[in-house]
Symmetry: C2
Subunit: 452 residues, 2 copies
């Protein structure tokens, strides 16, 4: 559905809400995808959204609930009683969605909802899933899947699938297990269709499969599924028993999240904010990094302040302060983000860290020489002071080398220490390199102007 | 396969290559996934990789070829003759992979390979796909899919699938078409299994489906598949005839690419580089943005230079130049990247642009006031000059307001003009805001020190 289509729906539904024309609203929403309805609800005021939401039948309501962004969703859920949430919505959902939604509720609400779930098997599955860390395979897997025994025939299998398929929307693969629940391999529906009903499963299943453990980090799951183009991956426990499966849509969310996190880091924003968020959320997301910038700026002021006498004698030294600071910042961010991006993309790289540093040093040399020459030419023709011309060029060269080495080394070190290397991008590296650049520039300039 | 596993394989294979022990290499690679073999090949020198590559059987070789990064792949292909490329590799591939690979070759090599393809239907499919823009649905779709006629029964369908399935690795959906090839809907394999062989297809297929056109931009395809959790989406022409399909793995690549492009933009890198790339590629990727930074720095030097007299009288004015520039840059990048990220994520937002600007203005006011107060307190206690204390605080306030408004407006304007809004992030906005900040700061300071 296009943006304008959604907007038209929103307008029309607003009018119908005012007229309390429930029948018309129901028929308007009938043919829409849950994701579209969720989008419309998110655009309405809370009381309007509530009015519309309560008109949906239980199955659609549970599908829509999954699609509504967390903040809006919790507002809706806070108005509903735990038994309605449990019996009308949660019981209709896949276990992973149910666990996500319950996991985002307050502890006491979560427990009351869990108690109200009538089907104890469903409740048990959700409680199991809530145990796992949100950012691991266990945290994103679903319990719903179709399993068959390796000793069965294709015919038995097809019957069993009919029985189990009710709870599983998209099957993709049938998982083959042995008598104690150990995963032996997978069978595609295509293979089932192409084989005779008397064929033994053990003769046709594919035993050569990729699996993950419940505690595998979600980023690693994403990288595996991406590398091997897997539509779903089974999750097994320590002794190989099948625990759940992760599908491609979960992994797309992980990739999106990870990319957004790195992007926010390099642009100096903390957390996930949209231009439509509250002023307070937007401010809070931007404050921490700006505070680092301010602290850096104050340190910079002290560095320059310590050279007040020199500046009084040669005010021209101040001209190139922003240039040096900007170049140091830019070079540093470039270096660190190349490293961070290569770590994030998961592309294997067989070059040793030592070789990478040598290469980065070579790049820094080339860039440093090029830009030192460029600024030398500019100053040679447009500046009246040869001292300044030399001082700016030489400091720029030195600053570029240092900035790019720091930019490369710091994320590599953070990564080794198992800290998110993306921390080393953005305002942090810019601020550090600003101060470093300033110090080098003022030292070199004073030397040239003989005002040390 | 883990990183260390690959490294061990590489070491072992290197030894075997030296011993020319072909048999052992073949048996080592036998059970590996094509993506793993591609990773190993990428880690070998070209002649070593060639030696190993030629040992693979045609089917495996073609699968491996698809997984090798473009640069390395073209090196391999340059050594091979067009008829080998065509008959041993291209003919075994899915049409979209074949088109990707041919599209990356030089025009004359591409044509010779196309001429050597024996199966003219395959050649025709590839030529068709090469017509489409690489970044559209047509550019990423594959021609391989399973179609059935709406008038058939489940039984006929299953037979037809057995016939067609040979060319399609993963079926996901069967596409239902009418007599002239118009797409009517889809049928999941699950539905086929769950229904009786006499059931008419027209009674069970799902007519309510999402489709894209061949010229739909790939980002839009990705957003649709992500929003509706689609494992595959059919591509149709203007009158609804089925042309191909796009699967989730293509879309993961698009999402990854798009995220990387935005990330590179904000960190000032042009194009896709890895720390392992050649020094020259790395340098070239970083040069353009640094040139913008240098130009900005020179402009900054001129702005300060125009105030040389004032600086001579009050050198302390120089102290806070880096602080003002850094804050202006950071605030600008934050604002622009919030806008860019929200455009990229495709999350709909029903707030008008006017309201967004008012909100951004409010955020800027809060941040501006907060940081102006902070720096006022610092200077009040640690600086000897009340003029400087006032000048820095007031300029910082004004600069933050301007920087965040520019940071918000420019990407919005670019987006309206159909230019990539991400251009407004990174060095561009930093540099612009640096100069703006400097100008405001010097003007305000001179006013306070009465040296206008």
């Amino acid at each position: 559905m296009s943006f304008d289509a959604t907007r038209n729906y929103v307008e029309e539904i607003r009018n119908l809400i005012e007229e309390k024309n429930e029948q018309e609203i129901i028929s308007m929403l009938q043919d829409l995808h849950p994701a579209d309805i969720a989008e419309i609800l998110a655009a309405l005021a809370l009381d309007e959204a509530m009015f519309v939401y309560l008109l949906l039948d239980a199955e659609m309501a549970s599908e829509v609930l999954v699609e509504i962004p967390e903040d809006e969703r919790n507002k809706l859920l806070n108005v509903l009683s735990p038994d309605v949430i449990a019996r009308q919505y949660i019981e209709f959902m896949d276990s992973d969605d149910a666990a996500d939604i319950l996991g985002s509720l307050d502890e006491d609400v979560k427990i009351s909802v869990l108690k109200e779930i009538e089907d104890k098997e469903i409740a048990g599955d959700i409680v199991d899933l809530l145990e796992y860390d949100e950012e691991t395979a266990g945290g994103i897997m679903a319990k719903e899947l179709v399993t068959v025994n390796e000793n069965w025939t294709v015919g038995t299998c097809l019957k069993e699938i009919s029985r189990q398929a009710e709870n599983v929307d998209d099957i993709y693969y049938v998982y083959v297990i042995d008598d104690i629940g150990k995963l032996k391999g997978v069978l595609s529906l295509k293979k089932l269709i192409l084989n005779n009903t008397n064929t033994k499963i053990s003769n046709i299943y594919n035993p050569d499969i990729h699996t993950v453990n419940a505690d595998t980090p979600q980023e690693e799951v994403a990288r595996m599924m991406e590398k091997y183009d897997l539509v779903a991956i089974p999750v097994v426990d320590e002794i190989g028993r099948l625990k759940g499966r992760i599908t491609f849509d979960d992994v797309i969310d992980v990739i999106r999240e990870e990319a957004e996190r790195d992007y926010q880091m390099v642009s100096g924003i903390v957390g996930d904010v949209e231009p439509g968020d509250k002023v307070w959320s937007l401010t809070r997301a931007r404050f921490p990094w700006l505070l680092i910038g301010l602290t850096g700026g104050i340190l910079g002021a002290r560095v320059i302040g310590a050279n007040e006498e020199a500046l009084k004698l040669v005010p021209a030294m101040a001209f190139f302060i922003p240039l040096i600071a900007a170049m140091a910042g830019n070079v540093g961010v470039q270096s660190s983000s190349i490293v961070v991006q290569s770590i994030a993309s998961g592309v294997r790289d067989f070059e040793s860290t030592g070789r990478k540093l040598i290469k980065e040093f070579a790049v820094a040399l080339v860039i440093g020489l090029a830009f030192a020459t460029l600024i030398f030419c500019y100053n040679f023709f447009f500046s009246s002071s040869m001292e300044l011309t030399w001082a700016v060029s030489i400091s720029l060269f030195v600053v570029i080398i240092f900035a790019s080495l720091f930019g490369t080394v710091i994320p590599l070190v953070l990564n080794k220490l198992k800290i998110d290397p993306a921390l080393a991008t953005g305002p942090f590296i810019t601020t550090m390199n600003d101060i470093l650049g300033l110090t080098i520039y003022l030292l070199v300039s004073k030397a040239f102007f003989n005002v040390l």
